[in-house]
Amino acid sequence: MSERQKIDARGAFCPGPLMELIAALKLAQVGEEIEVLSSDKGSAADIPAWVAKVGHVHVGTTEQDGCWTIIVRKAK
């Protein structure tokens, strides 16, 4: 598997973590994983919900000191 891509969207007000993830997924290969770092609690909920809706895989989410790490795998 290729190296996991990391998007550090902490403190990113615009376009924000989910929009960055959407853009990155368009460039990723199927099976590739992307790790999004976010300081926005809303994104921690929105990202897994959106990922499930469009058929990618939410690998997991962890939270530490107000920073969420959300890992997503491109599935199609």
Partner: protein, 379 residues
């Protein structure tokens, strides 16, 4: 030995850097201690935000363009010879004509471009205003439009993040003024779960949409367009009919970036503070070209360019960089044909737009001309 500063790209970012460096390094340029070279793709410089007004006939096309040589400081060695391959290990750029240009400091300002062709059916059925040809075609389509379903469709990633909302409000007023407001139904689609990436802007836009009867479809990432059926479908499974489709197409960075293995999609991995390319100390990135997760906008390019000017000058004169970029972005937001507001933020300060007013709209109109002072490095 002369320090060679090479700037790849002649858009706003590259132009501000070139002019700013020349203004501050007058002695070094005179003595031959420094040279500034720009590799551009066009003889003309376009004021891109002005494209928003073209479909409505609110700006003359000639107002969008200036001769790039006249915008640039005369001390810039400007070549219309696009970069074809950038070798950051050998510190050199190969151009389309076959020149090999060495550098001590490189600024990558290659910008972004629209990619409607990445969505099946979009080029056949969609209109856009992010380039002049598209804006002209949209103007013609609007002239001939007598009513129906209008879809304003936003795709990620895209530059000028408030333009989709601006055109939506302007369309509403345009249709109303044309006397066909009651025959036009506007639906705005957006990739994430609100009307705009900036939360306060989204909160402001929601009630405005309600007031104007503009419908919205959030979590809408375009999968395809069917030109025969005149429908647009999202990855999330929603299909919308349209009589007029106006898209903000997904963007990509420049081909030379991907051809040179400098970044996926044409976006160069960049340090968010120093604006150095990750892995390089003498390669800087400016404007849309970076992969920094902030707005791709003219103001971003401007504020980054100001930092790069200070750092390049300081590196040449003192051998050390001067300061860091704080993530500042400023955007005017046209809220109709006669009102506007603005929003600014940086890495640590969240956005907080004020109430729209006619005065801010006038200031935006004034900026449409003041832009040329910005590009020249005077504002």
């Amino acid at each position: 030995m002369s320090k060679r500063i090479v700037i790849v790209g002649g858009g706003l970012a590259g132009t501000i850097v070139a002019n700013g460096v020349c203004r501050q390094l007058g002695n070094e340029l005179r003595s031959g201690g420094v040279s500034v070279t720009m590799l551009g793709t066009s003889e003309t410089h376009m004021y891109q935000p002005g494209l928003l007004y073209v479909p409505f006939g609110k700006i003359r096309e000639a107002e969008l363009f200036r001769d790039q040589r006249r915008v640039l400081d005369r001390r810039v060695n400007f070549m219309i010879d696009p970069a074809k391959k950038i070798d950051v290990d050998a510190n050199q750029v190969e151009t389309a004509s076959g020149r090999i240009i060495g550098y001590d400091y490189l600024v990558l300002a290659t910008g972004s471009r629209i990619m409607p062709q990445n969505i099946p059916g979009m080029t056949e059925a969609g209109h856009w205003f992010y380039d002049l040809d598209g804006a002209r075609k949209l103007r013609e389509a609007l002239d001939n439009f007598t009513g129906g379903e209008v879809v304003v469709n936003v795709n990620a990633p895209h530059k000028c993040p408030v333009a989709p909302l601006e055109i939506t409000f302007m369309l509403y007023e345009y249709f109303k003024a044309k006397g066909i407001g009651d025959k036009c139904k506007i639906t705005y689609t957006y990739p994430i779960g609100r009307l705009h990436a900036l939360e306060p802007v989204a909160h402001w836009a929601g009630p405005e949409f309600e007031r104007y009867g503009i419908k919205s479809e959030t979590f809408f990432n375009t999968e395809s367009v069917d030109p025969a059926k005149k429908t647009i479908k999202s990855m999330e499974g929603v299909e919308l009919p349209f009589d007029l489709l106006i898209t903000i197409p997904p963007h990509a960075g420049a081909e030379v970036i991907t051809d040179s293995d400098l970044g996926k999609g044409g976006w160069v991995p960049t340090n968010t503070r120093t604006l150095q390319r990750e892995g390089s100390t003498n390669v800087f990135v400016c404007g849309d070209t970076t992969n920094i997760p902030i707005s791709k906008a003219g103001s971003t390019a401007h504020f980054e360019a100001d930092v790069l000017i200070d750092n390049l000058v300081s590196l040449v004169q003192e051998g050390r960089p001067a300061r860091e970029y704080d993530g500042k972005v400023f955007c005017f937001v046209e809220t109709g044909m006669n009102s506007g507001t603005y929003v600014w933020f940086n890495y640590t300060t969240p956005p907080n737009p004020g109430p729209p007013s006619q005065m801010i709209h006038w200031f935006k109109l004034a900026y449409n001309r003041l832009y040329w002072l910005s590009a020249r490095g005077l504002l």
